[in-house]
Amino acid sequence: MMTPLYKYGFFGEEFSLLVAFVLGLGFGFFLERAGFGSARKLAAQFYLYDMSVFKVMFTAIVTGMLGVTYLGWIGWLDLDLVYLVPTFLGPQIVGGLVLGVGFVVGGYCPGTSVAALATGRIDALVYALGIFTGTFAYAEVYPSIKDLVNANPMGQVTLPEVFGLPWGLVVFAVVVIAVVGFWGATKIELWAGSRP
């Protein structure tokens, strides 16, 4: 069996929408389970006394990364057919900064705001209205910043390709960084939690 199933024509576009809904169900369920329907829990990441955002995100990244790596190695998944967002380093660095500030100001990111909205958080509803307003503003200014946003395209490029390292070595390095990070995050939580 070769995957991704959709890319190999196992089902069509209509069915893919049902798949989207079911995957979303799982995504939303685990976001809420983790406590990510709460802005206070999410914002705590930036005040160091609860590093769940880092722990959940990096555990998910490591799980997904090990999964695609293993399935690729045994020949079940054609990783070349999995869509990679093209890299535009400048806009992605600036966008990340702006989004990080927005996270602390607003208390959510787009995905977690949907989980919070669904469980009745009024601030998440207002946050979502902010997203719509910001999206509209972006659409209005897009023609004038288009050249800047699309400057220096690097295409679909991965860390192993950029650094000229074997895929497996980078995977191993990310796992080590994550494990050391989890240990450090717990130490930081204990330290920050003991402060007045």
Binding site: G24, Y83, G95, V104, A118, Y142
Partner: protein, 174 residues
């Protein structure tokens, strides 16, 4: 109006493995990862198209989400996925006794100021996500697992931006 505490949250590593397996399923079944901000773009383009169709269709950004008019703008993969996110979160919230009307804020901030910050934060977030071609789901989580260069640069900067702003907004959360 802070929420009542429900059941304890799931262990972050178990929740992370759960999210990671959903992400892996998306790679294997669809050949793409998860996302969120794109659903907001589709919905906004559809709304603007309802109110001011000429304006929406003339706009370079919104017209991409509207397409050639042969399919409904809301018939998009991420819109269906985000509807699933809402349903899944609601299910989890009901099971845990966490689903009820409330406002999330620290003890020192008024409701009005908190809601103003939520609105501004959402606006900033949208701008950042569009610049970066994705948000924490579509870029950091999805691209992180695929070792995407731009995603890792983006993710690092999200933490830098968050920690840089944290001190100035501590009155909102602590």
């Amino acid at each position: 109006m802070n929420p009542r505490p429900g059941s304890p949250y799931l262990n972050p590593y178990l929740a992370g493995i759960g999210l990671g397996l959903v992400l892996l399923a998306a790679f294997v079944i669809m050949g793409r990862g998860l996302g969120a901000s794109g659903a907001f773009s589709s919905t906004l383009s559809w709304l603007v198209d309802l109110v001011a169709p000429a304006h929406a269709q003339a706009n370079e950004y919104m017209s991409e989400y509207l397409g050639d008019g042969s399919t409904h703008p809301l018939k998009a993969w991420l819109v269906f996925e985000v509807v699933g996110v809402a349903a899944g979160a609601l299910l989890s919230g009901i099971l845990a006794g966490r689903a009820h009307l409330a406002i999330e804020k620290g003890p020192r901030v008024s409701t009005a100021v908190r809601l103003l910050c939520a609105f501004l934060g959402g606006g900033l977030m949208a701008f950042g996500a569009h610049l970066a071609r994705g948000c924490t789901s579509g870029q950091a989580l999805t691209g992180g697992a695929l070792l995407n260069l731009g995603s890792w640069a983006f993710m690092l900067m999200v933490f830098v931006g968050g920690y840089a702003a944290a001190w100035f907004f501590r009155w909102q959360w602590r």
